[in-house]
Symmetry: C2
Subunit: 134 residues, 2 copies
């Protein structure tokens, strides 16, 4: 918890009980959760927690650079720690999202005058579990 407060301070986020719980959940579970996954997991610990608060705070975390929203085709947006940078493998069968080492791509692909700020790489295919169950 002390670590989380430090991280909040470094990113200009004032702590609250709800914020701590939400961030702690994401950092601990590493399951690329949706708002509803966070809400469902935490409402037993914080009975009055509302979905709105989860929405408010994951948006704040994204704005402050603590989280990134993952680009998926699912209806629900899923979130992940912004640091350290890494790429993702999405299983087309079970939908599981796996963290993989950050992939670097060669430069020179962008037209003159464009400035790249960040890169998101999504590998799509079958994970080993789903291949074994085929």
């Amino acid at each position: 918890m002390v670590e989380i407060k430090k991280k909040f301070k470094a990113h200009g986020v004032t702590p609250s009980i709800q914020r701590m719980l939400i961030y702690q959940y994401i950092e601990k579970e590493r399951n690329h959760p949706s708002v509803d996954m966070i809400y469902s997991a935490l409402k037993s610990k914080a009975a009055t927690l509302s979905r709105t608060t989860v929405y408010n705070n994951v948006s704040l975390f994204v704005e402050k650079g603590l989280l990134i929203p993952l680009l998926t085709k699912e209806a629900e947006t899923r979130y992940d720690l912004a640091e350290p940078a890494h790429s993702h493998f999405v299983c087309l069968k079970c939908g599981q999202i796996y963290d993989i080492p950050s992939m670097r791509c060669q430069s020179g692909c962008v037209p003159d005058g464009f400035r790249v700020q960040n890169t998101q790489v999504y590998l799509q295919g079958l994970c080993s579990r789903c291949r074994n169950n085929e």
Copy 2:
């Protein structure tokens, strides 16, 4: 139109007037359109066209491998030609999506037993127009 019919046949899509118009629009405009962009552009040419038909057919095109849905954080899903494979640059300021050459990433990043079927790379930053207007 004859070309489109050939392409449809090669992908197992039976032609209809609506399907031809929709695919022709995407192929010609190259603007990574949303369903609504397609619908708005075509309803003058086909007065009875419905949004449902556009939804039905872009989904069919995706299923048959003619289109891919782009991974974006916008509310509306946007679509692009599946072939030839290429990557995308998304301007964080104006939202414009640019096609860029397909970026290849080095192998060995995926755990054993995983099979990669395709890769989607999104570069995010500022396009030259937005940089000049800063």
